[in-house]
Symmetry: C2
Subunit: 408 residues, 2 copies
């Protein structure tokens, strides 16, 4: 069983107060898929008329539920819909049995909720390669349906956790055309985090009204600026799933509305940052800003090379302003860089420029910044206009402890 | 100062007996560049007529000595040559001062040895971004020249160490045309190891006679099958340098000779494996064989994705036969894979096939293999003929200990 580790030092003080989103209800259950003494299944039921968009891992070994969701997303969208998630077992690399489990769960969910089986989206997160004991979930479905409640989103956030040390939620409420639009989202994830297109499990709900194709467009665009800009350990899950459900219950058409898009962006970035803050073993939250690159893609390549470097991440863990390792990570990235043009800053402290340490730099200034819990590393390449910002955490003994013995 | 850690549990029993190579002599000194109480400079002088080939890091932030070697390698090769290496300071990202240090050391080496300055190749390894106190090295050059001795190669191997826990040497002697040809090499390196073209510092000497262009060709070819197939932490040094010096003193023309090439391959592979065996914090030596890929490049991509995955490496550290993480690493690599065609073996134990765990697989069999010190992970993709083998080590608390506090 996954270890229950103490709450991340980077965790928010408490779970936020999430407003109910009209048109969606939640329920959770303790099915004993793998964990004992905690909830491990969550059901969300969405009213008829809900638009659903999704982005998923691009892993070539992605799980049966992911493949199933991708197949269903393009389908009919008139009736109600349901999302059924279990933690403890990812139903990934489980052969043809994997699809059987998905089908059984979808069928049982359909029966209990009255939702068509082709509008039941499932997700599983946890250990890879072990058959999912789907009967345990199926047995709970009537109870789950009976317990549906719009106020139970925090319970849902808790039920989908695996090695997470805190549940993750974020919300926004904005005025559009004089009416209130609500967005509330939950996420899980703390290891195997280097999303290549979606990430972990994330479910965001809104009562805004947006057609499915426009909802998908805004979701994909914002994913590239949020969940695709975080990394804990450079490893990519076989189960990453992000779904955005717009019930339309507010009656407000938010299609291409910048106020709605900005609010959604804030919610997604908040959840993405919380995933990094719960990075396995993390003791520092690190923002890496790269500017002046030859292109945006080059900037991202450099930023991710720094964010994923074990030597950079261990230096941060040791509160060591070891900017030489930043230089190393830039050098190895494969993207364009000119040693003599780049400059490096820790927070506001100019560390290096002109291919050398800055004459005014004092080690104690760099060291003082590294002692903080929220760090900023900025690199200006001096080559062009390309820019990227990514977020990561440090690499500590805690990561080794959690991952050297995850299954036992 | 770098911590003096205890000898790697994967180290060979002792340094091998390296035969003298006719035409090359060594000397070492304790110049106090950074370390106290140990040698940190090595000089090798090569007789006139020596062919020298080299491969170097492709880092865009590579060090001044690397840039200098690359510029000099194509030059005249009639006279004698010298190699001067210091440990403790890499003279990387040291601005224009970096080239000044190289020039000063080359000039002093030329004066002391009688070798032309444009045939003096230098290398520096250690901390990045601090000016090299080259005066300390210059002051030792007369003593170094006075101490030159063909038998001092083991001393040379020790003087170039940084975080290495043991000196690395390998040798081969083969008969060609009824005469003996000798190859002897030394290497240093244990962290920041994911060579993208050469690796760490490696110096190999032979008394074979091979023209420079043919020597370069064989070296580049064998590097792709040895040093470019190892990784400790996915990080690439700014100083990686590999030089092969053929003195020709044996009088044996070994140009394109398969016996010579095979012997050289063995020496290079031996040294490459020793670098992995001294991987920072390593407790397991892991061979990863990928076969059946769509192409050789795909096979390498998959193999390196497995070898560099923090989750795979921590599972190995925990002796956990967590083959799900192998599936994850294949899935994220970006190279072609079909979940339902691949099979995975730990040693001789078939673990997974047909997209699922093998019915005959027993967890205790996988666990038994993982308890060994030398592990083999094989993946057959079932797609084509592409194959690659790479070598790596596990990711342990020792890596964090060494790297979270390297500079302090």
């Amino acid at each position: 069983m996954a270890k229950i580790t103490k709450r991340s030092p980077l965790a928010p003080e408490r779970f936020p107060d999430l407003p109910a989103v009209d048109g969606v209800r939640f329920a959770t259950a303790a099915a004993g898929v793998r964990y004992a003494g905690r909830t491990d299944v969550m059901l969300a039921v969405l009213d008829a008329g809900t638009s659903i968009a999704g982005v998923f891992t691009r892993s070539s070994t992605r799980s049966a539920p992911v493949l199933d969701c991708q197949a269903k997303l393009g389908g009919a969208s008139d009736g109600p819909a349901a999302i059924l998630v279990n933690s403890g077992n990812s139903n990934a690399f489980t052969g043809h049995y994997g699809q059987t489990s998905v089908d059984e769960i979808a069928r049982a969910t359909a029966m209990a909720t009255g939702v068509s089986a082709n509008r039941v989206f499932t997700a599983s997160t946890g250990v890879i390669g072990e058959p999912l004991p789907h009967d345990r979930i199926v047995q709970k479905l009537q109870d789950l349906n009976d317990g549906l409640d719009a106020a139970r989103i925090e319970d849902a956030a808790r039920a989908i956790m695996t090695t997470d040390t805190f549940p993750k939620g974020a919300q926004a409420q904005v005025e559009i055309d004089g009416r209130t639009v609500t967005i509330a989202g939950i996420a899980k994830g703390s290891g195997m985090i280097a999303p290549d297109m979606a990430t972990m499990l994330v479910y965001i709900f809104t009562d805004a009204m947006v057609a499915q194709d426009r909802l998908q467009a805004v979701l994909s665009n914002l994913t590239d600026r949020t969940f695709n800009c975080i990394t804990v350990d450079s490893d990519t899950s076989t189960s990453d799933s992000l779904m955005l459900c717009a019930t339309g219950a507010s009656g407000v058409d938010a299609t291409d509305n910048p106020v709605f898009t900005d609010a959604l962006h804030r919610v997604m970035l908040d959840l993405a940052h919380q995933v990094v803050r719960d990075g396995e073993g993390a003791s520092k939250f690190v923002e890496i800003r790269v500017t002046g690159a030859a292109s945006a893609a080059d900037a991202r390549t450099h930023a991710m090379s720094i964010a994923n470097s074990p030597l950079v991440k261990t230096a941060i863990a040791g509160e060591d302003p070891n900017w030489g390792r930043i230089v190393m990570a830039i050098g190895k990235s494969g993207a364009a860089a000119d040693r003599d043009r780049l400059s490096i800053r820790f927070g506001d402290v100019l560390v290096a420029e002109n291919g050398w340490v800055c004459p005014s730099y004092r080690e104690e200034d760099g060291a003082a910044h590294m002692k903080g819990q929220n760090l900023l590393i900025s690199v200006e390449l001096g080559l062009g206009e390309g820019a990227a910002t990514v977020w990561t955490c440090d690499l500590t003994h805690g990561y080794i402890e959690i991952n050297a013995d995850y299954r036992s």
